[in-house]
């Protein structure tokens, strides 16, 4: 955690030196232009932009950000031996080696012939190299590890690959995104593409971007995985939700990452 705090202090010094224009395209105070002409969005905004001032302030200050407690769990877990092989993550990787993972994932793994997100990768390593039991997505161990890993990519632009063997998953995710579902018969696009920035009862709709996950939600009083959020948004329209790590949510995660291509990673974000 110390390292990260130092980085953020160094970051704010840099921000003062280089002043405002550099910040205008981080999706927080100013929008990004989509990298691809196929993007359905003309401007890309982080969920940060739509959060209240108080919530933004909580995220901005690593000492006040409640998710940093989980970051600490992840940092400790990184060098903790576990499983029958008696190994830790630290024995196979340096923290520096995993720096960009949070921005690049999910990826199509050629060897495994499937889509892998950070949680699946963590469980894959635990099973294969550590002979340890998998962690559930929203267990504090997994939340901690996913926050620790994604936070190493903080400030790096989202850059997922959607061509080659990933294309099939991208299309599947896109189809999911635009499908009406549930008794209320709404698609993700209704709320997060057509009406983002508008008020729905007490909430202001964001673009539903994924660059802050696992995100600390004040309503949850803890961080939650992206797949937990998917499930919440499904249930909200009274639609069936899918399991964390299901093929449906994996494909949706890839497609959604692409909708936010270029958006800097903010993990751990804080949201209402």
């Amino acid at each position: 955690m110390n390292g990260l705090k130092l980085i953020s202090i160094a970051g704010s010094v840099a921000a003062i030196i280089f002043a405002a224009p550099a910040l205008a395209t981080d999706g927080k105070s100013g929008p990004l232009k989509p990298a691809s002409k196929d993007s359905p969005l003309s401007e890309i905004w982080s969920g940060y932009h739509f959060a209240s001032k108080e919530t933004q302030a909580m995220q901005d200050d690593d000492f006040g950000n409640p998710a940093m407690n989980w970051y600490d769990v992840g940092e400790t877990g990184w060098s903790k031996k576990d499983g029958e092989a008696g190994k830790s993550c630290a024995e196979c990787h340096k923290v520096g080696d995993i720096k960009g993972v949070g921005a690049r994932y999910p990826i199509y793994d050629d060897k495994l012939k499937k889509l892998m997100n950070v949680e699946e990768r963590v469980n894959y390593c635990r099973k294969t190299y550590m002979k340890a039991k998998p962690w559930k997505y929203d267990s504090s161990n997994m939340l901690g590890m996913a926050i620790f890993i994604n936070a190493q990519a903080r400030g790096m632009p989202r850059s997922v690959k959607i061509d080659g063997p990933a294309a099939e998953f991208f299309e599947k995710g896109k189809k999911f995104y635009y499908a009406r579902r549930g008794q209320l018969d709404m698609s993700c696009a209704h709320c997060h593409e057509k009406y983002f920035g508008q008020k729905i009862r007490m909430n202001i709709l964001s673009q539903g971007q994924s660059n802050g996950f696992p995100t600390y939600r004040l309503k949850w009083q803890k961080p939650g995985s992206l797949h937990r959020r998917f499930s919440g948004c499904n249930k909200q329209v009274r639609a069936k939700s899918f399991k964390r790590g299901s093929p449906e949510y994996m494909a949706l995660e890839l497609y959604l990452a692409w909708r936010g291509q270029g958006l800097p990673i903010e993990t751990p974000a804080v949201r209402n």
């Binding site: 579902r181 018969d185 709404m186 008020k199 009862r201 009274r238």
Partner: protein
Amino acid sequence: MSLAKRMMGVSVAIAFALTAGSSLALAQAKKKKSKCKDGETEQVASYKPSKGTNLNLQIEASLTGKPGNPKSGLKWMVHRRLGNCIACHEVKKILGEVKADNPGTLKKYAFHGKIGPTLDGVADRYTEGELRLIVVSAKKAFPDANTIMPAFHANSGLNQVTGDCKDLAILSAERVEDVVAYLKTLKQ
């Protein structure tokens, strides 16, 4: 779903829990209560749309053969699981129900969303039959809008509805008439 089917579902769940031999599974089976329990119904009235004035179509006749009650209509419109119309529509008359000395009325009648147009004056813009069609099925009323507004009196043609709400229309025919009766009072 019929009551008998529901009961069967419960007993299957309990039987499963018992064979699983786990008290945890039993607790979960008990905890999982139905969400569509505010009078949502599998009974959908049949209606024949006719040509409208401001919209292509309308439903001229009351779905129940009787006029609705505007006071009940207001109740369904602010209900968070039923109409919840104010989640998306601002209505000045409903904001007028907020009484400064009664915080309960704030929670119930305030905090309107702005996804759809304001409903103030809506009775001047549409005929009663058009308002009825909008509430029954906004998708039929605004066929080109890819509308976000749910169909409140429909129970088929839906995708992946959660078990508790499957095959149920959100508002019964009677409640649709109540809402229409309230909308008819919204004149400028």
